[in-house]
Each structure stands twice: as structure tokens, then as C-alpha cells.
Symmetry: C2
Subunit: 196 residues, 2 copies
């Protein structure tokens, strides 16, 4: 057989082509042919790595999620070692916002896939688990900040706020600076009394 190939890398390569198309022209423009062309390969090869379009979209969905988690980790790590819990919380939340072209594309496609998943119970369940994970992670950071009251409600509040700000950023209703102002304003009012 021809030189052995890294399956996972090929899948990522195809998936990247997919969300480049989806980001530029929408999920509805994603077809086997378009993806193959963008990835610079034949339709048959795309089929070789993904049995169906559905499988390709599902893979992209988890791939995007992994990249998101990585961005969060990197954002926290970039703070350096002497960082306060409050700084880590903020870094985490900011990393969830689409503030540069790359994250903008990822968020845009992620939202399109999310909406799509709402009409499919199985997919929706996966997103629901992911969403619960996020709440848990944010609540943990909040606990380290020593906030008073129900940490889970506070975490859900923050994540809902982030989700809305993300939409506003994609729409162009906010600039990144404006979105950060809204976020910081909220953080100041809700966590500052406890952080001191």
C-alpha cells in the first residue's frame, strides 16, 4: 500500500476545510464536493475518512470543542505562575469570547453546529453535557475566588453572559473592547466584594 498515513491528521485536515467553508459561507454551503475541493483532494478521499457527511460534522463539532478547551487552558497558562483566582476566572471567560479572526470563525461555526444539534436529541445531549462541564469549571474558579451565595447560579449567569456577548461580537454589535468592558463591569460588581 502507499506510504502509511496518519488517519487522525487527515481527519483534522478535512475538518479544517469544512469549518473554513462554514465560516465564510455558512453551514448550508458545506457539501462533500466543496469540502473536498477546499481540502485539495477528491470526494472519494473525503469519503474514505468520513463515512458520511453527518459523521464529518460530528467530528468537526468535537474538534472545535477540543480547540476551545485548549484555548482556555492556554489563556490561563499565559497568566504566569503568580496569578490570583480572579485573574484565572477572567482569563477563562475571555478565552470563550471570539475576539480574533480565528476564534471568530470557530465560534461562528460552533454556533451553527449548536443550532443544528438542537433538532437532534442525541447531539443535543452531548452539547448539554459540555455545557454542564463548563458550569462546573466556572463554579470551581468562582469558589476559589471565595464568592458568597450560590456558586452554580453565579457560574450559569457568567456563562450565559459570555454566550450573549459572543453573539454580539459575531454580529458586530460590540467590538472586543466593548464586550470586555461589559464583562469586567459585571465581574467587578459580582466578585469584587468577595475578592477585596
Amino acid at each position: 500500500m502507499p506510504k502509511q498515513v496518519d488517519h487522525e491528521q487527515r481527519r483534522r485536515q478535512i475538518s479544517s476545510a469544512l469549518w473554513r467553508i462554514a465560516a465564510r459561507r455558512g453551514l448550508e454551503s458545506v457539501s462533500m464536493r466543496e469540502v473536498a475541493a477546499e481540502a485539495g483532494m477528491s470526494v472519494g478521499l473525503v469519503q474514505h475518512y468520513f463515512a458520511s457527511k453527518e459523521e464529518m460534522l460530528a467530528y468537526t463539532s468535537t474538534h472545535l470543542r477540543e480547540r476551545l478547551e485548549q484555548r482556555v487552558r492556554e489563556s490561563i497558562a499565559a497568566l504566569g505562575s503568580p496569578a490570583t483566582p480572579g485573574q484565572r476566572l477572567r482569563a477563562m471567560l475571555v478565552a470563550l469570547l471570539p475576539t480574533d479572526p480565528d476564534s471568530r470563525d470557530e465560534t461562528l461555526v460552533g454556533m451553527a453546529l449548536f443550532i443544528r444539534a438542537l433538532n437532534d436529541p442525541a447531539l443535543a445531549t452531548r452539547y448539554r453535557h459540555g455545557r454542564t462541564q463548563l458550569t462546573t469549571a466556572v463554579a470551581a474558579q468562582l469558589a476559589e475566588c471565595g464568592v458568597h451565595g450560590d456558586g452554580e447560579v453565579a457560574a450559569d449567569t457568567l456563562l450565559a453572559l459570555i454566550d450573549g456577548l459572543a453573539s454580539d461580537l459575531l454580529l458586530g454589535h460590540h467590538t472586543p473592547a466593548q464586550a470586555l468592558r461589559v464583562l469586567d463591569d459585571h465581574l467587578a460588581k459580582t466578585t469584587r466584594p468577595a475578592i477585596g
Copy 2:
């Protein structure tokens, strides 16, 4: 000609068929044939009232927006005449949340159309204007509550929160009761000191 027909009513009827399909099986399942079948008419008749699919989607988008504004008005009106500014603000925000099957369907389709609009500059501009209108309206209600600080930031915070809560409701991460708890918690912390 056959008995004169109310064009606007026909358009609404077709548009309703469209978002019934979109809510149940997603925007990607919306086709001329499906819409015609759901509306109980021929494809040709749908074409008679909408020159293109794009026009049909655009109409649905503004139709949904009108219904949203109407829900907000009704929600405020339902308070009765002796209502505090704080109650009016809350009624307005709650009306934006998908808390029953009908509003759930509308929000779901509205979000799908929103994501779609992000890849079309002209449509995005319309949504941006609508979003700005909302901020203005909420800021006005906030002003009546006599809040301190930047009313526009507070309004944008509230609307971003609502948007995120709407997503969480659609996903099933929150029940309506949970979403209201998050909203009320936030309102208490941000407006109560001023309302007294």
C-alpha cells in the same frame, strides 16, 4: 380573476409553514416543496407570493421579529396599570425568553436565521439595527428604574444574559424556572439597590 385574496395573509400563512418545518427539522429541511406541502398548496403558489426562497426567509425573519415585539408589548400590558418600572423591565426581559412551546419554536428559528444572517453583510446590518433598538429600549426601562452608572452597559449586560439564557433553555440546560432564577438573581443584585 378568482376571488381576490389578501396577499399579506397568504404570505404569513406560508411563512408560518416555513418556521413550523424549521422548528421541527431545522432550517436545512426548509425547501420550496416542503413549505408548499406544509402550507397545503402547490409549489407554484408559493412562488406566486415569494419570488425566491431567499425572499421567503427574509420575510420570515421580519415576521418573527414583529411577533417578538408584540410578545414584549403584551407582557408589559399584562402587568396591569399600577406597575413599577422594575416590574416592567422584568416583564420585558422575560418575554424575550423561550418559556413555552410557541416561543421556543420562534426563538429556535430566529436563532437559526440569525446565524445564517451573519454570513450576509446586508442581513447582518438589519439584525444589528434590531439589536441596537433592543439595547435602547432596555436602557430606557433601566433609566426609569433610576439605576446608577452607565445605563447602556447595564442594558447590554442584561440582553447578553437573556440571549445566553435563551440558548440554555433551548438546549435544555435550564428549565424556565431555573432561567428565571438566574435572571431574578441578577436583577436583584444590579437594580435592587437603586429601586429600594
